[in-house]
């Protein structure tokens, strides 16, 4: 059996998602044996970026270099996987879609004239993405399961139940009952409700479920006494770009939600 040709790349991001791959502890060597790592600039000196079966792309597009690299990789791989929240939703950096309407690059990077700044956006704004491994950071288990599934020649399944499903499986009472602004009902699970298990409400890092009922979520948060500004901030912190309805909901002054 020929091994799958795999690449791991990072564009603008914190490298945490690639670390989630590396931190497979006992399994890393076994994992790497199953595939042929053609390129992984983060940990390898010699990289060949010509032909891939699978490329895992971490990070979002924030510079022209990011964009060029992404377009090139897309051309050279059969399958492209958005690895982690930045690649998937744009995560925190894409917050700029909802705040600064002007570009302040000239102030921020006064001394470094080489920075070419673009509106920070998830990779699917530029190229077709075949699979998403969501999360900030993505779960190690999910990465492992994904790799093993494709090595076996199967189609990976994505988990699209809301966080609440796993939250109940972990025996938690509901944080909404104690007025914490939990986004669990509209957020895609698969994280094992790790935040809620630890007492923190869900901030939505895995992005919305495909039928997230945003108006009702906003109503719940408003009934808890939160203002529109707070609600907007919460909804857009991790996945604003994936909730086009947020704009209308939170910017429309006449919104009665």
């Amino acid at each position: 059996m020929t091994k799958l040709k795999v690449g791991f790349y990072g564009i603008t991001g914190c490298a945490g998602c690639q670390l989630s791959v590396i931190f497979q502890e006992d399994d890393l060597l076994d994992l790497l044996e199953l595939v042929e790592i053609r390129a992984w600039p983060f940990i390898k000196d010699v990289n060949d970026d010509e032909t891939f079966d699978y490329v895992f792309m971490e990070g979002l597009v924030a510079t022209n270099e990011d964009k060029e690299r992404l377009l090139k990789i897309r051309k050279n791989t059969k399958i492209l996987i958005a690895l982690g929240a930045c690649a998937h939703t744009g995560c925190v950096p894409a917050y700029r879609h909802f705040t600064l309407q002007k570009n302040y690059a000239h102030l921020l990077y006064e001394k470094n004239k080489n920075i070419s700044d673009v509106q920070p956006s998830p990779i699917d704004s530029f190229v077709q993405v075949d699979y998403v491994i969501p999360g900030c950071p993505p779960s190690k288990q999910e990465i492992r399961t994904f790799l093993k599934t494709v090595v076996l020649g199967n189609i990976p399944k994505s988990y699209d139940n809301p966080v609440c499903t796993e939250c109940k499986l972990h025996n938690n009472g509901c944080l909404l009952e104690v007025k914490k602004p939990c986004l669990g009902p509209i957020t895609r699970g698969g994280c094992n409700a790790i935040c809620i298990n630890g007492g923190l409400e869900c901030w939505g890092c895995r992005g919305p479920t495909d039928d997230a009922n945003l108006p009702v979520m906003v109503t719940i948060l408003r009934k808890q006494g939160h203002g529109l500004k707070f609600i907007k901030d919460r909804l857009v912190t991790f996945a604003g770009t994936k909730m086009p309805a947020v704009r209308k909901l939170v910017y429309d002054k006449n919104n009665k939600a």
């Binding site: 076994d30 809301p162 609440c164 499986l169 039928d211 009702v216």
Partner: protein, 317 residues
């Protein structure tokens, strides 16, 4: 089979002594009321947020392990458990689950958890919250002992051979009462679900208000004492080791009906929302002759938007 009394002041002592033999699960208030091994406190201020279902039809059950090429079947283990303070809606719900997991199918994992349990009921004097609608839902006796709370004492009705043996063993706590439990003792008044052929009102526009408020969050099915759906998952611990688990599932999400080719039978939220209600009060009856739902009201109490489907259904003329 006899009625006894237990002074209220003796309840904690009785539970403490009973706990020495095996864990006694009682409703305890933490972030929410749940059944936990008795540890000095007990809470009857509301119905338990979590029903006792999870102790038998467990949230996550390991069916087998794989270790390299080897498959290892996991044998269910069983231990003795006593449940105290189970309300009738949950006792009836357990009877319904027994009929599925023990009669219709012989489920070894359920059976192992269910064996060796003693059920001590708690008869509500008044509805524990405004969502209950058990009146008319056909609640049944399914316990070994039933406790009726009174001002200074509990009336304790023996309802099974196991219950009689328990009283005999702890006889020093109980006094024989010269009384029969009557219909008046058993009567409690809650609101009612108007029963009818629900198929005839499936398309009624009144449901829309409920559908629109639904988040498809699955809280209702998880908290329901009768919901019995599950799915099987293979989970990897490492590349070579892993488990096949069975995990609670819910008809409220698309994954529930997703099949090969990514086809989903209940794509629209409306159909998922209605499916839960209809399975509980129509489809199950069509198949088994009785309603699955016991009227505990948890699916309304635990719903983030408190969708009161009973009121919706009752209003439809």
């Amino acid at each position: 089979m006899g009625v006894y009394t237990l002074p209220r002041s003796q309840l904690h002592l009785f539970l403490a002594v009973l706990s020495k033999r095996s864990p006694v699960y009682v409703p305890v208030k933490r972030d929410a009321i749940r059944f936990e091994p008795y540890n000095g406190t007990i809470d009857f201020s509301d119905n338990a947020y979590f029903p006792i279902k999870e102790h038998f039809f467990r949230k996550r059950e390991t069916i087998l392990r794989f270790d390299g090429q080897k498959l290892i079947t996991v044998r269910p283990t069983s231990s003795k458990k006593i449940f105290f303070g189970v309300r009738r809606c949950d006792l009836t719900a357990l009877k319904h689950q027994d009929s599925i997991f023990q009669k219709q199918y012989k489920d070894p994992w359920y059976k192992a958890q269910r064996a060796n349990t003693i059920l001590i009921g708690y008869h509500c004097a008044t509805p524990p919250n405004k969502y209950c609608f058990c009146d008319g839902m056909g609640l049944e006796e399914y316990q070994d002992l039933m406790f009726y709370e009174q001002k200074t004492q509990f009336l304790v009705e023996v309802t099974s051979v196991k219950g009689a043996a328990l009283i005999k063993k702890y006889r020093r706590f109980f006094k024989k009462a010269n009384k029969r439990i009557t219909d008046a003792d058993k009567h409690i008044k809650t609101r009612k679900l108007r029963k009818r052929d629900f198929n005839a009102i499936y398309d009624h526009h009144a449901w829309t208000a409920g559908v629109n408020k639904c988040l498809s969050c699955t809280a209702c099915t998880a908290m329901c004492p009768t919901c019995y759906c599950y799915e099987l998952h293979d989970e990897l611990d490492t590349l070579k080791h892993g488990t096949r688990c069975r995990i609670w599932s819910s008809c409220q999400v698309k994954a529930f009906t997703r099949i090969a080719g990514n086809h989903v039978f209940r794509e629209q939220r409306e159909h998922r929302f209605k499916h839960r209600i209809y399975h509980q009060i129509q489809y199950f009856r069509e198949q088994h002759g009785f309603d699955l739902c016991t009227g505990c009201g948890r699916c309304i109490a635990a719903c983030p938007t408190r969708i009161d489907w009973v009121s919706i259904a009752n209003k439809i003329t």
